[in-house]
Each structure stands twice: as C-alpha cells, then as structure tokens.
Subunit: 277 residues, 2 copies
Amino acid sequence: MNFTHKVRHARERSNSLLCIGLDTDWRTVPDSIRGSANPVLEFNRAIVEATKDIACSYKLNLAYYEAYGEAGIEAMKGTLDAIPEHIVTIGDAKRGDIGNTSDQYAYAYQELYNFDSITINPLMGTDAVQPFLKHSDRGVFFLGLTSNPGAQDFEYLELKNGKRLYEEITDKVREWNREKHNCGLVVGATKPAELRALRERAPELPFLVPGVGAQGGSLAEVLAANDEGEILINVSRAVAGASKGEDFAEAARAAALKLVQEMRELSPMLRNSLQSA
Amino acid sequence: MNFTHKVRHARERSNSLLCIGLDTDWRTVPDSIRGSANPVLEFNRAIVEATKDIACSYKLNLAYYEAYGEAGIEAMKGTLDAIPEHIVTIGDAKRGDIGNTSDQYAYAYQELYNFDSITINPLMGTDAVQPFLKHSDRGVFFLGLTSNPGAQDFEYLELKNGKRLYEEITDKVREWNREKHNCGLVVGATKPAELRALRERAPELPFLVPGVGAQGGSLAEVLAANDEGEILINVSRAVAGASKGEDFAEAARAAALKLVQEMRELSPMLRNSLQSA
C-alpha cells in the first residue's frame, strides 16, 4: 500500500479527516499526571486512547520532544506504540539537508522511530529530499504554503517565470511524487483561496492542513476549498489542550468529536453518519 | 559579547578558521572504541582533545545524533562539555517552524544543550526565526546558498525583482542581524564566485562554509573569494574521518593541522605563524 493509499484507507476507516496534533509541552501537562514516570507519554497515551476511534492521523511536533531530552525520545516511542496501525502517524520534523545527512534523518524517523510520514522543508532541492522518498509506504509532507505571516517573506515571492515560490515548490513536489505516490503538501488553513488553487494544481497530493482552531483557520472554508482531495486537518491545542484539568482526555474527545461531526456534515468524502462515533 | 564578536574572538585565539564537523555515525566508529559505553562520545572526545588548540569551531550535525536515539543525546551533551569555552559550537539543525514551535527548538538547542549557535532554514520567514534571535550571544547561521546540486531547484530561482532567491534570503538575514549582531549565513564552498558576490553583499555576516574536502570545494578559492569577512570553514569527513584505525585522533589532528597551515598561508586574517600549532 503506497502512502497515498494509506491516507485514503485511514480516512475511510475512521470516517474522519482529523489529525490530532500532539504538541505536548512537558512544562504544562495537567497537574493530575505530573507525578507519573513520564508525564508527556502518560498524557499522549490518554489522548490517543480517548480519540483513536475518530482520528485519521496523529502528528507529533518533534520540537516538543526534543525540548524534553532523553525522556522526549521515550515519550515519542511510547506514543507511537499506542497508536493503532491503520492510523497515519506524522513526525512534524521539517528537516532537510544534503544527501548523506538526510539519509541519517530518514533512518531516524522512518526506521528507528517508524513514523508513517514526516514533514520536510524542500528548500535545498531534489538531492536533499531523495533519501526520504525511497519507500512508497513512507510519506513526506513538504512545506508548500504555511499559515504564518512570515510566508510573505519568501513563499509568496513572485518568480520571473510567473509563478509564486510556493507554486514552484508544489510543481516540484508533484514531480517527486510521480514514481512512488508518497508525497503530500503542507498548506495552511488560513489561506483558503490559495488552498483551492493548490488543490486544482495538485489534485493527487494529500494535503496536511494546520491552522484550524488556535491559528484562526475555518474548517468550513478549508473543506469547501479542498473539494475531494485527500486531506488531513491538523488541530493541536484545541483538542489536546481542551482542558488542563483531570478531565483532559474526555475534554479532548469531546472537542475532537465536535470537529469530526462538523467534518462529516461538511465534506462529501465522509459518510454523514454520527452513530459510528 | 555578541555572537559576531564571539566568532572573531575564537578566530583570533585559535589563529584558525577551521570548523571541525562531528558527523559521527555510531555504525562506523573505529573498531578500537566500539566496546566503550558510548562510542560516539568516546570518538568525539578524542577528536576534540586532539584538535582543540587549532579549531575555531566544532559543528555537530544533529542528524547523526538523532539517528542514535537516547545515546545520541548523551553523546551530544558530553561532546559539548568537552569543547573549551572560547570555541564556537554549532548545532547543525536546519530547523525552522512557526513561532511557538521555534520557541521549543530554541529552548532545546540554546538552553537545554547550550550550543553557541545553530543552523536554521529561513523558508518560513521572519516570525518563524524570531525565537532563535532573542539573545545577542546566541548565533544563527541561516541557509543562504548550499553546496549541493539541488540548490538549483529553488535557491537559484530568479525573482521578478531581479534577485535570485538566495540573494533575497541574504538581504533578509542582514535585516534580522541588525539589532543583535547574531546572524550568519551558510554558503557552500563549491560556489566561489557566488561566495565572493555574497561577501560583497553582506560584509558584516559571519559565513559558515561547508563543502571543502569531500564535497569538492577548494580552500584557496574560498579564501580568495571571502576577502576579510568572518568565516568558519567546515570540514567533516576529511578531518574526523581521516583514519578508521586506532590512530584516528592523531590522523584527525594531522589533517586539521595541514588545513590550518594552509589557511594561515592563504588568509590575510590569520597570523602566518606555524609554531603556535
């Protein structure tokens, strides 16, 4: 099963487009689990347990695990172990380097930690990203158009050939995807008009869309713009951070379920049934 | 002391421009140390011990430490502990993400691991890099023009405003540097003509130049092109990988010393004295 198929399979089985972001900060976990051996792992396991029947994907933001040292590696591994096989796991790494270095990153995240997919920064070009694209069942989401204000500095730049840089990147990602169907694109939820145009430009690429919720993106606008392409909509703080109390897992489930119900009403790709949740 | 001053101070004290890259692969350390508790740390300590009087900087390529799991964190910390205070340490991370995520990376590499500087990918723009620029004594080397073939895909793209993308990035890095003098630029050694033009464009920025040695860049061409700007010339495999035998540390010292002697002959910024080594 190539990566694009895995995304579709996860969507069909969960009847959901929800990617739950696990940006778990060891300094701000709920008091109720602060005494456990590895509070970040404890937190993540509880969130996964409470949401795994309605999540299509989980995204671990590696910055938070790196900021937790050795315990962060333990938390990352343990979290991945807790996620059911059919759900798409994403290591949000935004790495990218020359070939022999990218080989090491690919080894770390595809073999040692066994993520289904990772996010990669495409700036250094083809030879820098090839080590991540060797296996058809391991996906790469390339930064296309991000949701932050700084996207204006470089991503939006107009090129002499008439394209914007993010459009040039998208065209290159389509080339990289042709052989193994294992590429996707990160497109910020705060830019629905551009998302619509990118969907027309690259109908075959799965999109990973951060920015709904805390960053201000609208779920309805994103789904209208996306049409019927494969899409994973990431929500981090608004789900995993829904409550800081003892009820954090139940609150996360309630927030996730509300989002999934909205998705099922809004997206023609999902069955409009609430009972399965 | 701001970061630019720290680079200058390290250059003056070592009378060297050599940055030794520690891309230590746990799978290929010399047999003679394979039995030690942490062979990567053992290897790095021996290299640092053998070269610290002639090195201006050490660069740890984080991919290799991530590929080594928990032991990689131990090796990274222990290596940093072994490097004398006046030498510039670089975490070659090539990170970059939206603000709250970059905050975590900045915490990890500036506070938890205490690198003097890190490499950062500028693609996501100003707000994404700000968290790394809060402290004048902590430097950031931004990817400017890299030494690999894939640099053609995006970095060289011609913009409507007449610049190449890497020139636009360089101009932005100059802006980011203005307040705290803590920015530098990564410029590949395989492009001496472009390095010369970038040096004229940004005389105040320290350059981190990989690509001499295994990647084919010429030390003489780089130093001629650089004129008198602050510059750290990174060599990884040709120093730390000079021998796979028991004599790996002595071989590394011999290779480093040869490079430093060449630098002292070629660069007007160094005292042309060999006896101090």
